[in-house]
């Protein structure tokens, strides 16, 4: 999701290694430009890309640094209530 005409960094969470039986792949790839996520792709990690698309739309995409530290995007909530508390 997203559209990166260029990116200067990539963060991979999960595995991009194919094992001897052809399995082993399961990753989320974040494409950054100046520390900001501009695109995401994933394999075997649904619904993370859908979730990313919605976070992007809402302006709630976490920073590259947070993702580099292992933040699981699915734990970032889409909604917060009127008190600003994440739901």
């Amino acid at each position: 999701m997203g559209h990166a005409t260029s990116f200067d960094d990539t963060i991979i969470q999960g595995s991009t290694d194919v094992d001897t039986s052809g399995g082993g792949l399961g990753f989320v790839a974040y494409y950054l430009r100046q520390g900001k996520v501009v695109a995401v792709c994933s394999l075997g990690k649904d619904p993370v890309t859908s979730h990313a698309s919605e976070l992007m739309r809402l302006g709630k995409m976490p920073s590259g640094d947070e993702l580099r530290n292992g933040l699981d995007l699915l734990t970032v909530p889409l909604k917060s209530n009127s008190l600003g508390i994440n739901l």
Binding site: G2, H3, V18, A29
Partner: protein, 215 residues
């Protein structure tokens, strides 16, 4: 026969093309991005498949080297011959029937036997018919539009989908996105724009703020 799903049409046509061969045919695919790689995975079990790509790994420019390597490894696991950093010199006719292709000659001199060649080497907008219309075309033959998909200088003329270069609010760049969901959602936006203009000529028009997405 009507087909509701384009991917199934692709599989059907490929299966039909392959059914004329009594032995496993040699299929050479030119291009290692979406079209090429998708064709390769569909045909991996029913044909001897080779993919020719200019990049070091497939999808390198679009998805980066790590994801590209994963796709390279996956294809190799399924017996697809991956000819990366290779270029096509020409296509050679079949010795049995010169009206058919018989091989793909690479720039390094090797000839890959080919019963079928699939070209997935990139597309450009087919907007040549607008050359004398007065509508300016971009360098890549796309059409630049406003955030509401309007063609500047032409009242009630819109361009959407694969051909339309529009301002992408996330990065501030003008982009042309060839995803089907972008085309569909831009169509919805234009319908809203037209309806709004019909009811109130001074209305502030909605702007496309969709996040491009596909699978």
């Amino acid at each position: 026969m009507t087909f509701k799903k384009p991917k199934k049409v692709c599989s059907f046509l490929l299966t039909l093309a392959l059914s004329q061969f009594s032995t496993k045919p040699n299929v050479v695919i030119v291009g290692s991005s979406f079209i090429g790689m998708e064709s390769a995975s569909v045909l991996a079990k029913t044909a001897n498949v080779t993919v020719i790509g200019m990049e070091k790994v497939p999808f390198e420019r679009v998805l980066g080297p790590q994801v590209g390597k994963a796709m390279l490894d996956l294809n190799k696991h399924y017996g697809i011959n991956m000819e990366m950093q290779q270029f096509v010199e020409k296509y050679a006719p079949s010795p049995d029937d010169p009206s058919r292709v018989g091989g793909v000659v690479l720039k390094d001199g090797r000839t890959l036997p080919a019963d079928i060649v699939i070209l997935g080497a990139g597309v450009i907008p087919s907007t040549g018919f607008l050359k004398s219309s007065g509508i300016p075309l971009d360098k890549d033959q796309g059409i630049s539009v406003s955030g509401s998909m309007q063609v500047p200088g032409f009242e009630d003329v819109y361009a959407i989908g694969d051909i339309a270069r529009y301002p992408y609010h996330i990065t501030g760049e003008n982009v042309r996105v060839e995803h089907w969901n972008v085309a569909q959602n831009q169509a919805r936006l234009v319908a809203d724009v037209i309806n709004l203009k019909n009811t109130d000529k001074e209305a502030v028009l909605p702007v496309f703020k969709h996040i491009p997405y596909f699978w």
